[in-house]
Symmetry: C2
DNA sequence: TATTGTTATACTCTATAACTATA
DNA sequence: TATAGTTATAGAGTATAACAATA
C-alpha cells in the first residue's frame, strides 16, 4: 500500500461522504445530485445544452430532459442563440439562483463540523493540496 | 470567504471529479455509482439489508431491489440468518469479488495522474488531512 | 406490537435511436 | 452533410405504501 494508494482511498471515501451530504440537501429541495450540480454550474454563467452535457458527462438527450424538468419547476430558462438558430442557451431564473444560494449555505453548514476541527494552517494546506489534485485533468 | 469555505469548495469540486471517474469506470462494467459502492462495502464483510441501506442512506426497499439486480448478475448472494429468521445477509460471490478488485485497480490507475504530481510529504499530508475530515460524523 | 424484508407503484435519471431544424 | 437539440422508448435508481414473516 503506497502513500498514493492511501490518498486514493481517502479521496474515494471523502467523495462518498460529501456526496451523501449533497444528496441529502438536494433531496430536501426535491433535487437530485445531478440537478444540484446543474444549478451549481449555471450559478455564474449561461451554457449551451451540448456543453452542459459534455461537462457533466451525460448524453445530450439526458441533458435535455433534465433541463425540461428544471424549467418546469421554474429554476431555469432556455433561449435561442440569435447567431446560430440551432443552439439553445440555458440560464438560471431568479428563483433558481436563490435556491442555489440557499443550498450552498446549507452545504457549508453541513460540512462545518468536518472542517471545524482543523486549524487555520491545516485548512490552508488542505485547500492547497486539493487544488493540486484538481489541477491535473 | 474563509479558509473553511475554500476547503468546502475544494471538497465539493473534488467530489464531483472523483465521482465522474467512478461513474465512468462503473459504467464500463454496467454498474451505477451505487452498485459500485455496494460492491466496495461488501468486499471485506457481509451485511444485512437494513444495515446496508442505512449506511448508504437509502430506503430498505431501494436496497432490496439493488440487491436483486446485483444478484441476478451473479455478483452477490443472499442468505437467511439462522439466529433471526427475519434477517437476510448479503455477501459477495467470487465473481463479484473479482470484479470489485479489478475496478479498484482501475480507479487507482485513473487517479494516478492526479496524485502523481504530489511528492511523498504532500501525499502523507493529504491523506492525514482527509482522515481528519472523515473522522467527524 | 415491533422489526426485517419484499413487492407494487410511480416518479426521476439515463442512454440509444429516430427525428426536426439549422448550418 | 454535419451539428444542435428534442422526443420516444426502455431500463435502472429511488421512495412511499402495503404487505408477509418473524420476533
Amino acid at each position: 500500500m503506497t502513500a498514493a494508494d492511501d490518498v486514493v482511498d481517502a479521496l474515494v471515501r471523502t467523495t462518498f461522504e460529501v456526496a451523501r451530504v449533497l444528496t441529502r440537501i438536494g433531496g430536501e429541495h426535491d433535487l437530485s445530485l445531478t440537478q444540484l450540480r446543474v444549478l451549481g454550474i449555471l450559478r455564474d454563467r449561461r451554457a449551451r445544452v451540448t456543453d452542459l452535457a459534455a461537462y457533466l458527462g451525460l448524453d445530450k438527450s439526458t441533458m435535455s430532459t433534465l433541463i425540461v424538468r428544471a424549467q418546469r419547476r421554474g429554476l431555469l430558462t432556455r433561449g435561442k442563440n440569435p447567431d446560430d438558430g440551432r443552439v439553445v442557451e440555458v440560464y438560471m431564473t431568479p428563483a433558481g439562483l436563490e435556491l442555489a444560494k440557499r443550498m450552498e449555505d446549507e452545504v457549508r453548514r453541513a460540512l462545518a463540523p468536518r472542517t471545524g476541527p482543523l486549524d487555520q494552517e491545516q485548512l490552508d494546506q488542505l485547500a492547497k493540496l486539493l487544488e493540486l489534485v484538481l489541477a491535473r485533468p
